[in-house]
Structures are given as structure tokens and as C-alpha cells.
């Protein structure tokens, strides 16, 4: 490229920049506008549509809900909106039970994930290289394979003529198969299995930072390994425990696939109720109302907790 060309080129760019600056369009505002507009349209706007449809009524038409405005017989514009769907949600025990049961399932699964994940994270953090990297890789590896297929693997394991029952019967430990599929137990296993890496990784990150001198000091002062663990290691790893538990609890509470495949018909979870309302009952307004209630009762508290946690970390 010769010098003239370069000069005209930069002059062109400068003129463009000057022109855009005149109408209030700077490169800076353009850069801000791209992610901002995308998220406003495809992330924030959908919630307003959700809120508006939750006030409508289901009808058999395309789309299957009543419009917000309607021309009255005298030509005036009427607003059709009612809180009927919300009244229905609060009066029908099904939705309350689903909400409580979601919290229970997510909480129990998180505790199991912590009990299984903590020893693994602790062991990996203490292991010498290269064993440490290999074990860490082995923890992450299943995460890169399909989530759906990992849940499917447990279907083959837990079925009444599945691997576990067949093994137990051939060993003569049981006479008839144990019912494991379609129980809450299967749902706990599915959630723990799927989200275990999310528990182990933050715990591992926290435990590797643990100062070995503190452990030495404790044992020099006569503490048994057990006492050292409960008075030094465990309290210091609390941030890792909190981070890992959040990463398991949050996706577990709105889970649809795991209760649908491993749970029984009576395993109620709020995500599953929403799905069935939409796909089976084809009631879009009630499904929207369930989503709005979930936003306030599930997502809002989690976001609040996270902001508290972030502020504490900054201090």
C-alpha cells in the first residue's frame, strides 16, 4: 500500500468518525449498542411478553391466548387482562407442592453432591503431579459428553431388569428386583451425577489454595488429623462449599429432563409442571403465570444471594 492510499484512507475514516460524532454516534456507543440491543430484545423483552400473556386466557386459536386489547361493540378499546391464572396457581395445591418439592429435591441432591464431591476434591488437591491433572481431567471429562446420554445411562442402570438389579439377583442378594426407576431416589442420583463436576471444581480451586503451614501447625500442636480437618480445613473451605453448592442447587431447582426421565409420575418439580402445562395441556397463559411466579420465588432470591456473596468476596 503506498503512502497516498494510506493518507486518503485515514482521511476517509476520520471524516466518517467526525460525521458520526456530529449525529451522536461514536464508535464507543456503537460497541455498547450491539450487546445491549441484542440482550434487550432477546433477553429482557421476552419477560414483558411473558407477563402480558400470563394475564390472558387460553382459547383454541392461533395463537392460543386472548388478545390484550379488543374492540368493544361500540368501538371503544377494551383491555382484557385478569389475574385469574395467578389465583388458580395459588389455590390449586398442585403448584404449591411442586414448588416445595423442587426446593426439597434440589437441597437433598446438593447435600449428596457435597458429601461425594468433597473427598474427591480434597484428594485431588493433595495429590502430586501428574496424578492431580489426570484426576482433574477425569472429573471434567463426563461433562463434555452429552447430558441427556448421561441421564440415559442411569436408566439402563436402575431399571427393574437393569444392571444393578441383575447383578444383585445373580449374586443371590435379592429375589425380586428393587424398584429404583421412577422414584425420587433416581432423581437425586441423576442430579448428583450430572452436576458433580460443578461441585468438585470450585472445592478443588479453594482447597489447593489452603496453606499447608496451617495444617502442620495444627498437628504440631497435637491436633489429630480428624480435629485438624474439622477446625482448620473445613472452615477455610467454606467459600468453596458455598460456590459449589450454588452451582448444583441453581440448575437442579428448575430441572425438567431428569425428573421426566428418571422420576415417577408423582415426582413433582416446578420445571416439569411448566413443561406439561405448555406441551400437554397447551395452556400458554397458565404456563406463563408459572414462569412469572418462578421468576419471583426462585430466580430473584438466587440473584439476591449471589449479589450478597459477591459483595462479601470483594471485602
Amino acid at each position: 500500500m503506498n503512502r497516498d492510499n494510506l493518507l486518503t484512507r485515514s482521511a476517509f475514516w476520520r471524516a466518517t468518525a467526525w460525521g458520526m460524532g456530529k449525529v451522536g454516534l461514536t464508535g464507543r456507543s456503537l460497541v455498547i449498542a450491539i450487546p445491549m440491543l441484542w440482550l434487550l430484545v432477546f433477553f429482557l423483552a421476552p419477560f414483558f411478553v411473558l407477563g402480558r400473556i400470563s394475564l390472558a386466557e387460553a382459547i383454541i386459536a392461533r395463537p392460543p391466548y386472548t388478545p390484550l386489547f379488543e374492540r368493544g361493540p361500540d368501538g371503544t378499546l377494551e383491555i382484557l387482562a385478569s389475574l385469574e391464572n395467578y389465583r388458580f396457581l395459588f389455590e390449586d395445591a398442585l403448584y404449591r407442592n411442586a414448588y416445595i418439592s423442587s426446593i426439597r429435591v434440589a437441597l437433598i441432591s446438593t447435600i449428596f453432591a457435597l458429601l461425594i464431591g468433597y473427598p474427591i476434591a480434597y484428594y485431588i488437591a493433595r495429590a502430586p503431579e501428574p496424578r492431580r491433572s489426570i484426576l482433574l481431567l477425569m472429573v471434567i471429562l463426563p461433562f463434555w459428553t452429552s447430558f441427556l446420554l448421561r441421564v440415559y445411562a442411569w436408566m439402563g442402570f436402575l431399571r427393574s431388569n437393569g444392571v444393578i438389579n441383575n447383578t444383585l439377583i445373580s449374586l443371590g442378594l435379592i429375589d425380586s428386583p428393587i424398584q429404583m426407576m421412577q422414584t425420587d431416589f433416581a432423581v437425586y442420583i441423576g442430579i448428583v451425577y450430572t452436576y458433580l463436576p460443578f461441585m468438585i471444581l470450585p472445592l478443588y480451586a479453594n482447597l489447593t489454595k489452603l496453606d499447608g503451614a496451617l495444617l502442620e501447625a495444627a498437628s504440631d500442636l497435637g491436633a489429630s488429623p480428624m480435629v485438624t480437618f474439622f477446625t482448620v480445613t473445613l472452615p477455610l473451605s467454606l467459600p468453596g462449599i458455598v460456590a459449589g453448592s450454588m452451582l448444583v442447587f441453581i440448575p437442579a431447582i428448575g430441572e425438567y429432563v431428569i425428573p421426566a426421565l428418571l422420576g415417577g409420575p408423582d415426582t413433582l418439580m416446578i420445571g416439569r409442571v411448566l413443561w406439561d402445562e405448555f406441551f400437554s395441556s397447551r395452556d400458554w397463559p397458565v404456563a406463563s403465570a408459572v414462569a412469572i411466579v418462578m421468576l419471583f420465588l426462585v430466580v430473584a432470591p438466587i440473584m439476591w444471594l449471589q449479589s450478597v456473596q459477591n459483595r462479601r468476596e470483594e471485602q
Binding site: W13, G27, R28, V31, I32, P35, M36, W38, L39, L40, F42, F43, L44, P46, V49, L50, P63, I116, P119, I120, Y122, Y123, L137, M138, L141, P142, W144, T145, S146, L148, L149, Y152, A153, W154, G156, F157, R159, N161, G162, V163, N166, Y193, L196, P225, M226, F229, I250, P251, G254, Y256, V257, L261, G271, L274, F278, A287, S288, A291, M294, V299
Partner: protein, 266 residues
């Protein structure tokens, strides 16, 4: 935590992680249709898998969606992360911070339903997008994957040495040139990691795609889900084995490349 307890717990943990995967692979070579009863070695289900037009077609749909949404989400996520780490004050900063991280904690059923309702009302009022299919799935996946890319990019942008950018500016480079010549090459490895994560998340998603897809655009997870909902089926075992094999080989190669890089002193 010394003595027998810790090793036992770790062995139990890894058996828990790998036993289902191993059994999945073993029974993919089973002659019998009953997935968990051994009927002799056979590769019959692999043959059936390769003749299954529905699975092959949906795998192609999934790959297209994953490629497009991973690429788009890297662009949007990186821009978002750049804006939030480099511009200290602008209107809507708080809003953008919230919007870019919120998809991380949003239950998939809510994201899926709300986007579907948006697409339906946009079609009614604006006429776009006409119907639902590839485009709507790509938009939906881009939105939730961008959040993950933004988190990775933000971490890298915060930790990089900002004096490099300052030096370039002092030497007279325009902001655009600083971004493309300095910032982008420095954060490139993080963006590659973000792209790979976005690609995997998109390939893996069932819930959001089920809401926003239309007739004729079924992704691979949607087809697998409708198959296994009715019970176990051996050709899904064969498919799972192929995916697991692919992932293991890819990870081994990546690990080997990294080791070689380390030995060269990179």
C-alpha cells in the same frame, strides 16, 4: 481424612462417575434388543444407527445450530465483556451487567418459554421471524451461550496487562486498532475456550430448543429424548459410544498438545 476413608471415598466417587458410562459402551455391542441382558457381541446397532435418517438429519441440524450460535455468542459475549471491563461509565451499565449474567441462573424452561412467546408475538406484529426453525433456535442459543462467553472473556480482560493497550494508544493507535492488534490476540485463547464451551452447550441443549423449534427442525437431543422417553433403545447406546469415543480422543489430543507445549517451555 487419612487412612482408609479418603481412598475408599475417592474410588467410590470415580466408580459412581464412570460405571454408567462403561455399561453404556459395553451394551452398545450387545446383540439383544434388551439393552441390559447380554446376548452376544455384535455391531448390529451401529449399522442401524447409520441407516437412521432421522438421527443423521437431526445431528446435522444440531451441528449447524451449534456452529452458528457459538460464533455469534463469542462476538456478542466478547463485546459485552469488553464494554463492561473497559468503559467505566455509560448509561445502562448496571442494566447490561445484570442482563449479561442473568441467563446463567435462569431456569431453561423460563428462557425457552419466554423466547417462544417473544417469537410468536414478533411474528404477529412484525412478520419476522416467519415460523420457527433453525433461526429461532440459533437466536435462543446465542443468547444463553453469550453469558458463558462473557464470563470467560471478562476474567481474561481483567487479568491482562492493560499497560499494553495504553502503550499502543500513546503511540497513536486508534481504539479500533488497539482492540484488533493488542486486546484480541491477548484474549484469543480465552475466546477459543468460550467458543468450545458455547458449542458444547448448544449441542447439549434439549429444553430451550424444544420450546423454540418448529416442525422440520428437530435437534439431535430432541430426537434422542423422544426415543428414550419410551424406554431404552440400543441404537442410542451406539450413538452414545460414538460421542464418548469422540470426546475422549479429542481430550487426549488436546492434553498431548498441551504437554508438548509445556515441554517446549511455552
Amino acid at each position: 481424612m487419612r487412612g482408609w476413608f479418603l481412598p475408599t471415598a475417592v474410588v467410590f466417587g470415580f466408580v459412581f462417575l464412570y460405571a454408567p458410562i462403561v455399561s453404556l459402551v459395553v451394551f452398545s455391542f450387545n446383540e439383544s434388543r434388551l439393552v441390559t441382558v447380554w446376548g452376544g457381541f455384535s455391531t448390529r446397532w451401529y449399522g442401524e444407527l447409520l441407516r437412521d435418517r432421522q438421527i443423521l438429519g437431526s445431528a446435522w441440524v444440531s451441528l449447524q445450530v451449534a456452529f452458528a450460535s457459538a460464533t455469534l455468542s463469542v462476538v456478542i459475549g466478547t463485546l459485552g465483556a469488553f464494554v463492561l471491563t473497559r468503559f467505566s461509565k455509560f448509561t445502562g451499565r448496571l442494566l447490561l451487567t445484570g442482563m449479561i449474567t442473568a441467563p446463567l441462573v435462569m431456569p431453561e424452561v423460563i428462557t425457552g418459554l419466554s423466547l417462544l412467546l417473544l417469537f410468536v408475538s414478533m411474528e404477529l406484529t412484525l412478520g419476522w421471524p416467519a415460523g420457527r426453525g433453525l433461526t429461532t433456535i440459533i437466536i435462543a442459543h446465542t443468547t444463553f451461550c453469550a453469558a458463558f462467553v462473557a464470563v470467560i472473556a471478562q476474567t481474561r480482560l481483567r487479568s491482562m496487562d492493560e499497560s499494553l493497550e495504553e502503550a499502543a494508544r500513546d503511540l497513536g493507535a486508534s481504539p479500533v486498532r488497539v482492540f484488533f492488534d493488542i486486546t484480541l490476540p491477548v484474549i484469543a485463547p480465552a475466546l477459543v475456550a468460550g467458543w468450545l464451551l458455547a458449542f458444547t452447550l448448544s449441542l447439549d441443549d434439549l429444553v430451550i430448543a424444544s420450546f423454540v423449534s418448529g416442525p422440520g427442525a428437530s435437534t439431535l437431543p430432541m430426537v434422542i429424548f423422544s426415543k428414550i422417553r419410551l424406554g431404552v433403545s440400543p441404537d442410542v447406546n451406539a450413538l452414545a459410544t460414538l460421542i464418548i469415543g469422540f470426546v475422549f480422543v479429542a481430550v487426549l489430543i488436546a492434553g498431548w498438545l498441551m504437554q508438548r507445549g509445556l515441554r517446549k517451555g511455552l
